[in-house]
């Protein structure tokens, strides 16, 4: 496992090469560096994994590379920490990441800024790997901010369009709200435990904190706020649909497979703190549930293919939070892995469709594409089946495990389960609505399928992986607490499998056979507008935060607080003008004032002598 340091270094070197060689290396070289560095990182990951799985190998591995800084008691070093959880994330990031890079090398080929694109992508992968491998929370925060930066840069990649820049800024500012809370949480955690070293926190937190006490609750709530911002959960979710302004491979890599799951990783990583705060953990479950329902309903009526997928991502991450909250820790990470596979597949397929239709993203202008685009069609079917959790695809295994665990939560269990099943039902409707609208019905447009070794192989590999990933076993068992191992009644399984299938049937009736038209949102204009704008959260935030802020700024245009420092400036300027009158360049005036001053000094000295 001594090669661990290579994994984040390789993409970083790729980034440096691409940045330093900007304008000097041509597309082929840039492709080789950009895709090669991530692929090499994936190879090193498998090498490390071989060591990790070899018999007798330790369950965790920590290495200090070099000290970063020390301030008072705080000693922060560049240290890497590998355990089952980190290794699972490494598989997702480097494995799915290299497939997406492979695909992106074809997708972005026509773009003028090919080198810049791969530079950002490599920097993103390096930052994400740093986040996952960090052995202390400060280094994790560095990676956290690094991926946020790359997300900003890549959403605004086509910066000539002001709308893209706006989307990038929105993503940056909204996640910043959560990041601030996260940073405060880190400081509090350091004050309480005196360390930010992750393995130490794991052992110290259960000893130092009382279960349900104020301190762990506050810290866990702050960490949760950071996770909510990064993972686009309510109420900090509004940036994700707009983030689709970036290139499609970016959406696949950052806004589906890796970065948006960083919040899930953070909670799983600091689970020992969360376990001491059961109220916060319950809040995690409910936030996840509300998010998955809200995002699911919003996805029902989007017209942009990528926005449907964005809301669906939000909803699936809602399932992961839901799983964390009900204590199904390993299942959550398992769903993270399967979701990364099938959602990356769906996004890349959507990218192929968008390219084939000459950058058309509106699903109302699509239809009947299954004959012209067979490979994307079948990949989309696989992806949708996984998303809907049709047995025996990978999504089925992960989602059923989560629902089973939720049933067993004492107290709210069955209610949470019912919400999760309702979410699965909606998921079925919106994903197959998308599938039927895009691939069935009368043919619209003249698709030209993008072909070649950069388009089909990554899709097919991801499709195959999505199908079989249900049988993968992630090495998270040794790290995360055990899940509830009871069995819910048999009928719950039947309902959980049956409802999504009914949802598919409804979607088929409505969108292929054009019956039951009353169910279509187009029949209800007000509801349609409401769902199209994602439950009006943007408008709400505008009314709550933006408008008051802008009004305040307008009222206080001549900053009142600023008056005080300005007074000092005006006073010194007045003194300056007064005294500069004396420097008039007249030598005789100088002599006269000098004489007068001398006389005054002499007279006063004499007077003091006399009296």
């Amino acid at each position: 496992m001594q090669q661990l340091w290579l994994i984040p270094s390789l993409p970083l070197v790729g980034f440096l090469l691409l940045v330093l060689g900007h304008g000097r290396c041509n597309r082929s070289v840039a492709r080789l560096i950009g895709v090669g560095s991530v692929a090499m990182a994936a190879l090193v990951t498998f090498w490390v994994a071989l060591d990790f799985y070899s018999p007798g190998a330790p369950q965790s591995y920590q290495v200090q590379l070099w000290p970063w800084f020390s301030a008072g008691q705080l000693e922060v070093s560049f240290g890497l920490y590998l355990d089952g959880l980190a290794l699972s994330m490494l598989f997702v990031i480097t494995g799915v990441g290299s497939l997406i890079h492979w695909y992106a090398s074809g997708y972005m080929w026509q773009d003028a800024d090919y080198q810049r694109f791969f530079a950002y992508m490599n920097l993103f992968v390096a930052a994400m790997l740093m986040l996952v491998l960090a052995d202390n929370l400060v280094l994790l925060f560095l990676g956290w901010e690094g991926v946020g930066l790359c997300s900003f840069l890549l959403i605004g990649f086509w910066y000539q369009d002001p709308a893209n820049g706006y989307a990038a800024r929105k993503a940056f500012v909204v996640t910043r709200v959560g990041d601030t809370a996260f940073a405060i949480g880190l400081l509090l955690l350091f004050r309480e435990l005196g360390t930010l070293d992750l393995p130490t926190i794991m052992t110290l937190a259960p000893e130092e904190f009382v279960i349900g006490g104020n301190r762990p609750t506050l810290i866990a709530a702050l960490l949760l706020a950071g996770a909510l911002g990064k993972s686009a959960q309510l109420p900090l979710h509004t940036w994700l649909p707009d983030a689709m302004a970036g290139p499609t491979p970016v959406s696949a890599l950052i806004h589906a497979a890796t970065m948006v799951t960083a919040g899930v990783y953070l909670i799983a990583r600091t689970h020992s703190v969360f376990l001491q705060a059961p109220e916060v953990l319950l809040a995690v479950a409910f936030i996840g549930l509300v998010t998955l329902l809200v995002a699911g309903f919003a996805a029902l009526n989007q017209t942009d293919i990528k926005r449907v997928l964005a809301y669906s991502t939000m909803s699936q991450i809602g399932y992961m939070f839901f799983a964390l909250g009900v204590g199904a820790w390993s299942e959550s990470i398992f769903h993270l892995m399967t979701h990364a596979l099938f959602k990356a597949l769906l996004f890349m397929t959507a990218g192929s469709i968008i390219l084939a239709l000459h950058h058309q993203q509106d699903i109302r202008s699509m239809g009947g594409l299954r004959r012209q685009l067979p490979v994307p069609f079948w990949c989309f079917v696989i992806g949708s089946a996984c998303l809907v959790a049709v047995p025996p695809t990978s999504g089925f295994f992960s989602k059923e495990a989560i629902l089973n665990a939720s049933w067993q939560l004492p107290g709210y269990g069955p209610w949470l389960w019912a919400g999760g099943v309702l979410g699965a039902f909606i998921t079925a409707i919106y994903s197959f609505r998308l599938l039927f609208l895009v691939f069935f019905g009368p043919q619209k447009g003249q698709p030209q399928e993008p072909k070649g070794w950069q388009f089909h192989p990554p899709l097919i590999i991801l499709g195959a992986l999505s199908l079989v990933a249900g049988w993968f076993v992630l090495p998270t068992g040794a790290v995360l607490p055990a899940s509830p191992d009871g069995h819910p009644p048999r009928w719950t399984l039947v309902v959980a499998i049956g409802l999504p299938l009914i949802g598919i049937g409804i979607a088929y009736q409505v969108y292929v056979r054009h019956q039951w038209q009353a169910l279509r949102c187009t029949q209800w204009p007000l509801l349609r507008q409401f769902l199209l704008h994602g439950w009006g959260f943007d408008g709400l935030y505008k009314a709550l935060f933006l408008t008051p802020f802008i009004t305040l700024a307008r009222v206080n245009r001549h900053d009142i607080i600023d008056r005080l420092p300005k007074l000092v400036v005006q006073f010194s300027r007045f003194l300056h003008q007064l005294f500069s009158q004396f420097q008039n360049g007249q030598l005789r005036f100088y002599i006269a004032t000098l004489a007068c001053a001398a006389i005054i000094v002499l007279v006063t000295t004499l007077m003091m002598r006399v009296f």
């Binding site: 008039n584 360049g585 007249q586 005789r588 004489a595």
Partner: protein
Amino acid sequence: MDSQYIDHAIILAGILFCLGLVGVMVRRNLLFIMISIEVMLNAAGLAFIAAGSAWDQAEGQVMFLAVITLGAAEVAVGLGLTLLLFRHHNSVNVDQLNQLRG
């Protein structure tokens, strides 16, 4: 020396000093200003000599030597500057040389 002589000498030195000071203040020509400064310096020197003789101390004459040296140095520098000013501005009128105002 009697004390009345020292009174006379000091009064003479005071008159000379005031004449020099008035000269410095009212003259516009730089050369005359320097001559007036020389008068002031020598008034101060006279006061030293008178005081030294009144109290039979040698320091008065020592100080006068210092004053002469100072005067010589001042003239050397001052005349050089005056010469340069005249070359640059074709004038030694201090009222016209007022470009260094703030």
